[in-house]
Symmetry: D2
Subunit: 346 residues, 4 copies
């Protein structure tokens, strides 16, 4: 039984970790960390957990925590994990960081886009980018995993096979993404009130969203080419779900069938990436509550572009589910342990 600690268990991603881990037969949550709710019953914060979680929320005593657990999930704001981690801690526990602190290899890029100084750049090199479908073997051996961002996961999985094959112009990539509102977090902000989000859609972070360099870096690795993209996220009046609509110019003549074959090859044996039948568009309703990412492509003969589409639950494969998938790998468990829940519809 893996003993688990969660720092930031009272955010939406933290709570989703709890939901998933309660159904994970090899994991036992020992520490429900929460700066805001320390001392309160976890089930008073999230009443869905009434009679399921008897624990109180605890503070952030990392020294104590790392004595009591085997793995720590940090579902916290940017900058926190990098200031907490140390060689001593990493010698005792594994860390899966759901923040962006260790996702970007170039410190300058991180500091520029996030506007904060990195707290422990010495661990960036060691940290493994936890996209299981790509870095599976490295994750198995990692002490510190940087759990990918929600938009980057969905964007990357949608584009990866064509990027890797050198078929698309990596400077022509445009990613137009749409997210449910849980991605905005549980902080009490006027902009996220029901009446402000409901019955509306907007773009935000246009040309400045922090997930941009993360996507670019991963696509650069995959393609072997410098990648500069437009990434535009939008806020959609729904709780969960990310949809990615990506566009790229084809660099050589290739049929849709040939491109589909690249997806089949890239995701052969991958349980959590589903290439939909030709002509079927991904929809977020079909992945809600599950760890699946549904992808598909469409070649536009008129424009010479390919559209790459992906749908994902931002809280599962985009956060907590992928984090558990990483934990499974790090502890030698079957990768899908605790992650077999079918999507919930409607």
């Amino acid at each position: 039984m893996i003993k688990v600690g969660i720092i930031g268990s009272t955010g939406y991603a933290g709570q989703e970790l709890v939901r998933i881990l309660l159904g994970h037969k090899e994991a036992d949550i020992r520490w429900y960390g929460s700066r805001s709710y320390a001392g309160e019953a976890y089930a008073d914060v999230f009443r869905n957990m009434f009679q399921l979680v008897p624990d109180l929320c605890k503070g952030e005593n990392l020294e104590k925590l790392c004595e009591e657990v085997d793995v720590i999930f940090t579902a916290t704001p940017q900058g926190l994990c990098s200031t907490l981690v140390s060689e001593e801690i990493l010698s005792k526990v594994k860390i899966i960081d759901l923040s962006a602190d260790f996702r970007i290899k170039d410190v300058d890029t991180y500091e520029k886009w996030y506007g904060i100084q990195h707290g422990s750049p010495q661990f960036i090199g060691e940290a493994v980018y936890g996209l299981c479908e790509v870095n599976r073997e490295k994750i198995r051996k990692a002490r510190l995993v940087a759990n990918p961002g929600c938009y980057p996961t969905c964007s990357f999985l949608s584009i990866y096979p064509l990027a890797r094959a050198g078929i698309i112009d990596m400077k022509s990539v445009i990613i137009d993404a749409k997210s449910g509102t849980s991605g905005a977090g549980r902080g009490a902000k006027t902009a996220n009130l029901f009446c402000e989000v409901n019955e509306s859609i907007k773009a935000y972070g246009v040309a400045t969203h922090r997930h941009t360099p993360e996507i670019e870096e991963q696509l650069s690795y995959a393609s072997g080419q410098e990648t500069v993209i437009n990434f535009t996220p939008h806020l959609v009046p729904m709780n969960r779900g990310i949809l990615v609509t990506a566009y790229a110019n084809l660099v050589r003549d290739v049929t849709e069938e040939e491109m589909r074959a690249l997806y089949e090859e890239a995701y052969d044996g991958e349980q959590f990436v589903r290439l939909l039948p030709a002509g079927v568009c991904p929809e977020t309703r079909w992945v809600e509550g599950s760890n699946y990412t549904d992808v598909n492509i469409k070649k536009d003969e008129r424009t010479g572009r390919v559209l790459m589409l992906g749908a994902m639950d931002n809280l599962v494969k985009g956060a907590a589910g992928q984090a558990v998938q990483n934990m499974n790998l790090m502890f030698g468990l079957p990768e899908n342990t605790g992650l077999m829940m079918p999507p919930v519809f409607p």
Copy 2:
């Protein structure tokens, strides 16, 4: 391994049965019945099941079906199950009927409220009303279970302890209920289009809803008194969930604490009914996707009434989850097998 057939697997309740049974380690769905989609891939109807369900939908050949399975769920419109069932069929398979055909013991009442002739009144006596918390022992031995309606389940569990204790005037009971739109089914009707339901709330079936006599009958059994109620359902712009707000006059002086004790006693050991802490109102968001019913009461000293509140997922405890709970009992399995999924939030 229990071999399962589902008639009506392409409605919302049928699909929820599939979702739940896919995670049930002792059940194997052998027959995805659907009048509308026979011959089509199940995963083409519900794409959340892509790569999870490879089967095609089949028609309603009950003779063939009852040779191949151990239990049949009928998630079909009123009147179908009662015309299909026969002694021969019941000698071969168990039936859990999610329609109303066998819920009401009085045929005249059934025929009056439903406006159809009952197809097999000879089985009404045998059929067990499948509210596990009340009829557990009878369900264990049943061949034919009438799975309770969604509103009746939530209404009954909210009121039962006080009805049983004789504390409320059974002719004063008023049930004001609110349901998500999945309760209206998947038929293509203008009234259920997104733009018609969204941003609105309405009452429907006022003083005429068919769940009224079912609730009255069960409350009569529980209280030993004739029960005549007002039951008013409302349509709420959300996918899932039922909230019951029930009112009754107290027939004698009793404190809220004494009433809470009656709930604690009635639901002692019941995993799927959660009496919330005093003062905490049930909310549908806290039970979504799970088999829980959350209940609570509030005494109004000013009016001498008690309010009884309950929240439930209409597709789980109100339909598919309770049906699986019944199946577990009928096959001697632990009652919660396959039903331990925590509520999904947000």
Copy 3:
């Protein structure tokens, strides 16, 4: 041209006042008051008003304000208006108070339910309860109008004809009400975030909601009997709209047709109360954005009760629209000036 000042113009009700008054040919808003946004452009707070409202928000200098305008709307939290009002101010401007400060004639009742001391009890007697359909003549002459609460308006208009006729037992009245989320205000609270409200319904303020004594008082006046009710509000995942489902015991035998005649009589000539055809239930979608209240009744022969239903836009007839209706009366304008907008659907 009536010169208008609004205190609290940056709440939802305040903004709705602005929307309505922009289309009112006899009104001119001179003062956009806002404690939170003083000094900011109004159109930066509500971008729907971009290029429509060039003004900056101003603070709460009432001495200055009452020199510049003819009427002040106070769309502010409870307790503010009663501390601001004075004989001097009332000698200069008319006041329409959208808060609860002057709605309840009994100071003790006000102070008990609202938990604050009343700031100017000497004006309670003078203040006119601004339900135009009932107090029209008094409103015409008033200096100070207490604009009714949203729930009380919809509840009262639904019940009034039967209460007045002495046909229902005023101690049997139960009001089960449902409101859109704009009724919760624009304050940044976790409980009102999109993900917390969406896909859920809950009761709140059970047996304690502050609109209870206001409804009781008005129904007492109408019926001439002491009225003690159960009032239970619910939060619905939609922006606007209130639905009232009220229940009462009939004190004598009366047909539904006779009761409908009472509604027709009570609302004869009333433009903003629409008695729907027999059998048609009010729905909030059909009144959204308008000043209408749709009402209807249903007699339940089985229980001897009558159901009284009403639907209204909480921000219009439940707040800003009714306030403008009051203003029209106070200034001798046709009562429907600026209020003729049809409901917006979908």
Copy 4:
């Protein structure tokens, strides 16, 4: 007073025409046409119109209709208007066609994308594309106006100033659009049920949507260059609103300020197009219920692209509002008559 007939008055766009025209002091609706509801009271179809519209729905007797009215709006499926129109009819009434029949000048393009034969190609040349901001003078003199599509209106207004200025590569234009569900019409289809649309987002008509050639044609006129675009619409769980996020490569170095100046110039004096302040993204909530289109741009220095964003109410400026704007021009009225309603929020 302009006498108005509406064919297709019981669709969402038709009903919005009714809502707007009820507040238009120079228009009088004489004919509520509806194939589906002929003979029924209009207010029974749309109960928001109860007591506002006493008329019954009528059939499609165009010969009779054109004797009784001055202008006919056809809010009907593709192909209908072109089969109804004739020289005789046009000699008696003006026609504003909300379908696509006369929007595209090239018959082959129309027939290819719409898959139907054009019913009266002889009128295509005469028909004026009713985008008032561009074709105002022609509209004034027109007998037959092709009211632009919803997506084309929002797309064109967002891109027009840069296209006209020759600043963007017209073969690089990518339009990623998002629409509320009223755009899908009021037909009873499973895919548009509440539970299917709610809590989900999807792309549809990828690389094949019929608005593509309409947008291309208009942008070609504006730019003087052949324009081939990617246009991808998405379905959003909200009633109203379209958001356009468009991308294009800049063909020469130009600052964001210079581009903003082009918008200011292009829309100088245009009441219904609002260029938002720099850095402010359009959101559909700020235009709901109104005839405004909000636009803005953002230059991405990193990629050398410009993003052009626009928000609009698909039923108003995208359909009925623009149609009334056209009517006003055709009848010599002030262009904004009946269209001054501020956006409704929330």
